[in-house]
């Protein structure tokens, strides 16, 4: 009897707790698998861009070509000794990876992956996502300060300066989109984008009118993630590995996971804000029901993979910027441009 009721409510998802548990479970599964896929892509794409083959041996069953490399890496990380330096602040040190990892997981709650495929449709979705993403900085600062290592500290200071500098263009570029869409809800933004017609006639995603904003958002996202060419906080030729210098084993793996999950999450946000979310193109409808949800999920994932591919591509191409170049680029180019962008969008919104 109870099983039948349970199955009924599972199908209808009318039991709040069941639905919540299921959604969170799916999000955790996504959170643990998508970064692996992105990491594998990074291994392979970077290898081929450098005329190598990348991992070729570890495989999952009969599929070789290094598909199982990151799984093997994970197993290795679990087996490794978890070292906490004697001089370290033990509590802060051991909690720092969690503080940088959990915000990324939490953002996934509000990201819509398809029609109806989201855990929660917050009215202030983009605000929530950006606010939570800046909590991750705390994790980095905690790791840097508690390690009792000068390289870690230098990396942490660099990270703080960089993340503050690039938080602004990121938020301002998103604000312009919010202005255009007239809603803070991520689902609302996707729908508004679907309705959007450039000059009242041409259906295009926001990336076209917001081409500057899209570029700024993307560059700022790279800097937020400390991805090359903006990886001064962990510049391994200068300060060993920044805030991660003293970490080993599973805690280190959590930092790496948060970087790759961050790539997925910020690419997902860029997809929602600028590339039209789950719609293949604005104005192209998806079929109703489960098929539409699946198709929409596929479209979103395709866009996310494309954006993460470009992140890897940029990493393989450009050398690291200098610290002062990084700061100058943010404060003298991106932020003024972002403010100008908002003004232009606001004027255009009222005039057109």
């Amino acid at each position: 009897m109870t099983i039948a009721v349970l199955a009924q409510s599972l199908l209808a998802l009318d039991n709040v707790w069941l639905a919540l548990g299921l959604k969170l479970g799916l999000i955790v599964v996504f959170f643990l698998t998508a970064p692996l896929a992105v990491g594998y892509m990074e291994h392979k794409v970077m290898a081929h861009m450098q005329d190598r083959l990348g991992p070729m041996e570890a495989g999952l069953g009969p599929i070789k070509h290094g598909v199982g490399q990151l799984v093997a890496d994970g197993v290795k990380f679990i087996q490794k000794e978890d070292i906490i330096p004697t001089a370290a602040d033990k509590w802060v040190f051991s909690w720092a990876p969690a503080v940088s990892l959990v915000p990324v997981l939490v953002i996934l709650v509000v990201v819509p992956f398809g029609p109806g495929v989201w855990a929660e449709n917050l009215d202030a979705g983009i605000f929530f996502a950006l606010a939570v993403s800046s909590v991750g900085v705390l994790g980095i600062l905690m790791a840097a300060w508690s390690s009792a290592n000068k390289y870690s500290l230098m990396g942490g200071i660099r990270a703080a300066a960089q993340l503050i500098a690039y938080e602004l263009p990121l938020v301002l570029a998103a604000a312009a989109v919010v202005l255009q869409a007239g809603t803070l809800s991520l689902v609302g933004i996707v729908e508004a984008q679907n309705e959007f017609r450039l000059l009242g006639a041409i259906p295009v995603p926001y990336a076209v009118p917001h081409v500057i904003g899209f570029g700024m958002f993307y560059v700022a996202a790279l800097a937020e993630l400390s991805r090359p060419p903006f990886d001064m906080p962990i510049a391994d030729s200068e300060i060993i590995f920044g805030h991660m210098t003293e970490y080993s084993g599973l805690r280190y793996a959590f930092f790496m996971l948060s970087e790759y999950a961050g790539m997925v999450v910020l690419s997902a946000l860029a997809t929602v804000l600028f590339l039209g979310g789950w719609y293949p193109w604005p104005g192209v409808p998806l079929p109703d029901g489960a098929l539409g949800a699946l198709l929409g999920f596929g479209v979103t994932m395709g866009k996310i993979i494309a954006l993460t591919f470009v992140m890897v591509w940029l990493r393989a191409t450009f050398p690291r910027l200098r610290e002062d170049q990084l700061q100058r680029m943010s404060w003298l180019i991106l932020i003024p441009l972002a403010l100008l962008n908002i003004v232009v969008v606001a004027v255009a919104k009222v005039m057109l």
Binding site: V45, H48, D51, L53, W313, T317, F318, R328, I333
Partner: protein
Amino acid sequence: MRPTLPKIGLLKGLGVTLKTMMSPSTTSQYPHVKPDLPPRTRGVIALMEENCTVCMLCARECPDWCIYIDSHKDTIPPKKEGGRARTRNQLDRFAIDFALCMYCGICVEVCPFDALFWSPEFEYSTYSIRELTHEKEQLRVWMDTVPAPPQLEVGAEIPPEISDGLEAARKAAEAEAQRLLAASQPAAGGDGAPAGGKAAAGTAADDDIHVEAQVDQETFDKLVAEGKSERVARAKAKAAYVRKEKARIRRERAGSESPPAGGDQGERAGG
């Protein structure tokens, strides 16, 4: 200081990496795919023990002193009655310590009796440094992996290492054929066997016609008239002479072969 704006070079860089990604990688998957090594690769040194006379030149020239040779003298009794007994060096131990060897190849160069060779075999690393001292049995094993030297240029003469082997193989095959023939036709009659033997010998002799090279004046003049340099013309004329001479001898032999088949019988009949 004014910030410099990004220029087209950024896109060019992206193009380079994308193009590299699309082009196939040159990595070879070594343990799965063996490398295609040239025949002169310095992988390991092999010893042809039969050729070694224990002259010790290799051991003395070795800059690392990594070749160990032990030998003793055998006394060979005189061949003729009342002759003098001879002595002969007998190799007891020949070892190369590949942990010391620096693969300079001086031993191979210096060996006057063609006893040392380079082999491209290179997968002999071990967990123990002692196993890197290869004794003569192991060096003999490497000998089987020594490839035949390549032709120095297209159309060059077959190197003696190969032609000697071919010669030996041909002689062995011939002897085998003779033996089989003799075994199959002992009762068939006296004239079958010698005729067969002669035919085999005739085709065999074809290969080792030796002609002293001379300048073929006619060809030489023609080539010089064509504007070839004198050196080239002389070389080609010599080759042409040798070809012509060989063809002539072959024709002669073939000619003397078929009538002689009758002539032989004639002789025999006459006798």
